[in-house]
């Protein structure tokens, strides 16, 4: 009975299963899904088929910055390691960091958004002030400072990005919750005796879900870019080499001056490809959830 109410009042009358189908019918959305699928396959199976051994360094001077060949499909790096294999294992690290950081970010953002949107006391106002404070800080300088204070490891990178990127999610969720809070069916459920926790979890949360989906996809894109930038600036995990870390070593070893395009291009194209796939999907979801833009 209650479940029916929820579905009937769902924002824009879109069910989760339909949403994915609608993304697929959009040309850009479909392109995004295909690109993402391809990258997932590469990240999962690539390192299994072509394992990367960080200790497998070059033995002669010719092995350093050697251009693509039969043995090294994408040439070698500044200490003679295979760029192609490094690229495949980098895909995994970049995705793991991006997805894990997003999980933290979306969880915090959703909870703060739900709570501060549902309640309207001083505590809720305080939460919003904290959100605004973090929203106002420039993201990159903030994560640079945090990463250089707390050290370089994959776990810290995930925490730093996750703990700094939640405010926009909190704001979006909150404004949606405020508009749902006042709707009649919430009033009805409350008069039936449902408590705050029950109302938030079973009756408000399902209605902000689509919005959280769309936001999640964009946060993943942002997190992957943040990780790449942090790693490029030398604040990544030196052992777990991501695409950003590869570009850091390429930059500091002067790969540009040595015309080692095979070392500079692939990791960047990888980042661009992943971020673009999430951006395309996010943009399409946005279009579906904002019917005013859907018409065009």
């Amino acid at each position: 009975m209650k479940r029916k109410v929820v579905i009937r009042e769902r924002i824009n009358k879109i069910k989760d299963s339909e949403t994915l189908g609608m993304v697929w019918t959009d040309r850009l959305g479909r392109a995004g899904i295909i690109m993402l699928g391809a990258i997932m396959v590469i990240a999962v199976f690539g390192p299994v088929i072509f394992p990367f051994n960080a200790a497998d360094i070059g033995k002669t001077a010719e092995d350093i910055f050697s251009p693509p060949s039969v043995n090294h499909w994408l040439g070698t790096d500044e200490i003679g390691r295979d760029v192609f294999r490094s690229l495949l294992s980098g895909a995994r690290i970049s995705l793991i960091v991006g997805l894990s950081a997003t999980l933290i970010s979306i969880s915090i953002g959703s909870i703060i958004g739900l709570v501060s949107g549902y309640y309207s006391g001083i505590g809720s106002m305080l939460l919003m002030r904290v959100t605004d404070f973090f929203l106002a800080l420039p993201v990159l300088p903030l994560i640079i400072v945090l990463a250089s204070i707390f050290g370089q490891s994959i776990g810290i990178t995930i925490m730093v990005i996750g703990l700094t990127s939640w405010p926009s999610t909190a704001r979006i969720v909150r404004s949606q919750v405020i508009s749902i809070r006042e709707r009649q069916y919430i009033e009805r459920i409350r008069s039936l005796g449902a408590g705050d926790f029950r109302i938030i979890v079973f009756h408000i949360f399902p209605n902000v879900m689509p919005l959280i989906y769309a936001n999640t996809v964009l946060v993943i894109a942002g997190s992957i870019l943040s990780e790449a930038t942090l790693a490029f600036l030398g604040l990544g995990d030196p052992v777990k080499v991501s695409w950003g870390t590869m570009l850091h070593y390429a930059f500091v070893s002067g790969a540009a001056g040595r015309k080692a395009w095979w070392y500079l291009l692939p990791p960047g194209i990888g980042i661009l490809f992943v971020v673009l796939s999430f951006t395309l999907i996010g943009h399409t979801l946005d279009k579906i959830l904002n019917p005013r833009l859907r018409e065009y």
Partner: protein
Amino acid sequence: MDKAGFIAKKFAQLLFTLYAIATFNFLLFRILPGDPLRLIARAGRLSPDAVARLQELFGLDRSRWEQYLIYLKNIATGEYGISITFRRPVMDIIAERMSNTILLLLVATIIVIVIGVGLGIFASMRRGTGTDNTLIVASMVGWSLPTFWTGLLFIIVFGVYLHALPIAGVLTPGAVYTNYWQLIGDYANHLILPTVSLVIVDMAQFFLITRNTLVDVLTEDYITTAKGKGLSPLLTMRRHALPNAMLPIITTLALYVSLVIGGAIQVETVFSYPGMGKLMYDAVLRRDYPILEATFFLMASVTVLANFISDVVYRLIDPRVKNI
């Protein structure tokens, strides 16, 4: 609430946020592992006498609360301590670098707004066409590009392969200038690649927000009326549609400042451009915490200030906003 009251309230919020940033900064850099004295002295063994003198010099013999109050006073008066690597006051070093970054960001921002908004208008008038779709996809590709990698690409293409443009610094080393114009020309030449890198990546927001707002507005009844009156599409755009896009553009500007500061750190690093961003990068590499602390505080302050200005301008332009 009247305008003056609104501005006063926003200004009070601005001051409080700056205070919060300073406090945040104080706490952040006090939880650093290790003894601050070792960091300052960069020496393993110190005589008890030297320790005492250094403690007194840096105020480390005082209580945490006293340190905090002194810290707030110092921040307010622009006293950011002494750089560990340069062995000079942080403020002097920042003052030397500041103008380079301001120039870079100013030039990039003007181009970003002009081209971004311009293309947004252009695309909205051709909505649904191939041109519109191409521009949307292009802007999303731009948005997805890592700024630092875009810079690296330019270096390898225009610097290493084509030898067409300078790829590092602000002036050609050892160059002799016979007049001011040559100096300005050399400076401008060095600005091209960093600026273009920033513009390509950070333009998307302005393009998309302008386009989407205008596409939305152009379906309104009053636009149909304006067209019905016989106004040309350009005049309709200028008088009836564009004013509606002003507010979202102003909101975007505040977000953009945060983004472009991050961009500046990246391009300045890649192009060895002696500004605040490169200073921050070097401070990270050498763990020069006083510089890191000061550059972060200044960057955060600028972003908060941009938010304040955007709020105020929004209120002044939009008569509907009464009380936020």
